[in-house]
């Protein structure tokens, strides 16, 4: 179980062979995506693990940056050339962690020769633009706002399988195709990484019924298609009808599609 705080591999017998150091590579299929998830919160580890498993990823979840480095064999100075390369296709890490932050972990991974090509995704509960930019500049592939949803993970998965190589310079590029959403709502700003419009992904605009006084007894479907008012910051007024006119990716390039939908209240 993922409760022991160390390396945890939930319900995956193959992953039990993966050791901290000095063990052989796990017997994974070449096609299987292996994700290393790093989060100090047990609740979040369980959730991200489930999200990743649903999208057919093998998951190793650890509770700290140090454990992650240990798992990757990066925690000592000596070159570990003789070790079989662990197959890690994606590293997803929380930003705020005691000891080593996700940003510090990102830097260490990008400094390593063995794992610098592995995409690193940062998760954070805070939508701080400077934080996002700093992570992207350091080479993070994407930035997810917590709480993470299945649509976010599916998006990550889609560009993993397509083996998109995105350099820092391309991070501001907008995709040309729009994201498929509910027809009743305008399309959200597209994710910065050129993800395909995965039609099977649930609409990013899953909304919570805000407990406001204007709340009248709606049918359940109506309740859950009411817009979410942006709780976090004011720059989320990014309603556009076409991807090309999405504003200012330099400001907050990557976020979950939380936004205001004026006119639909």
């Amino acid at each position: 179980m993922a409760r022991d705080g160390g390396v945890s591999c939930l319900r995956s017998s193959e992953m039990m062979n993966v050791g901290i150091r000095g063990m052989e590579s796990p017997p994974l299929d070449v096609d299987e995506v292996h994700v290393l998830a790093v989060d100090d919160s047990l609740v979040d580890r369980i959730v991200i693990e489930r999200l990743l498993r649903i999208t057919s990823c093998k998951v190793t979840a650890v509770d700290s940056g140090w454990r992650a480095l240990e798992f990757l064999g990066l925690d000592n100075e000596k070159a570990s050339a003789e070790l079989d390369r662990l197959k890690v296709d994606l590293i997803i890490t929380d930003y705020c962690m005691p000891g080593m932050t996700g940003y510090e972990l990102l830097k260490k991974i990008k400094e390593s020769s063995s794992f610098r090509q592995v995409p690193v995704v940062i998760m954070s509960s805070e939508n701080v633009v400077t934080r996002i930019d700093r992570c992207l500049e350091e080479g993070a592939e994407d930035f997810l706002l917590k709480p993470v949803k299945l649509a976010d993970v599916k998006r990550l998965r889609s560009y993993l399988t397509r083996d998109v190589k995105v350099s820092n310079g391309n991070k501001r590029k907008l995709p040309e195709d729009s994201v498929t959403v509910n027809t009743s709502l305008p399309p959200p700003p597209p994710p910065l990484i050129n993800s395909s419009d995965s039609s099977d992904s649930s609409p990013p605009l899953t909304i919570s019924p805000e407990s406001s006084d204007s709340y009248s007894p709606l049918s359940p479907v109506e309740i859950f298609s009411s817009p979410l008012s942006s709780q976090l910051d004011e720059e989320d007024d990014v309603l556009t009808s076409s991807p090309e006119s999405s504003p200012a990716p330099e400001e907050s390039p990557i976020r979950r599609q939380k936004m205001e939908s004026p006119g639909l209240d």
Binding site: S41, V43, D44, V47, R50, P147, T206, S208, S211, I223
Partner: protein
Amino acid sequence: MDSHVAQLQMQYRNYILSLYQQGFLDDQFTELKSLQDDGSPDFVAEVLSLFFDDCVKLVGNMARALDQTGTVDFSQVGANVHQLKGSSSSVGAKRVKGLCINFKELCEAKNYEGCVRCLQQVDIEYKTLKAKLQDMFNVSVIIVHMNPVSVWDDFNKIILGKE
């Protein structure tokens, strides 16, 4: 017998809806429910159980940190609040999360009385949520017992709009 089941199911549905309407739960809870399936039938219960364990632990930490004679380490209180905010957000415990947001500000302002009051509210709030969710699960167990059709099918239909 059928009408009793139908009535219970109706009450159950209304109960769930009321939890959303009263702001106890938000769409993240819906998201968690959608991750549950026949292969992982206990997923939500497992996550919630861990969440409530977290609440006990973190509230205890905060109570101890605020119970100092002398200087209170507000950054330590704040660190625990941050963690609770995170996990409540991840399970969709909307009211708890909202309180944590206030709590964080009170910590930053080093408002001792405010922190103590807020902690009491957090304590009440998570326990209230726990009781309500327990009621919900209890009713669902009764319904499942009376009616072989899975009660989560109903939930999925209502809450997720699936047919």
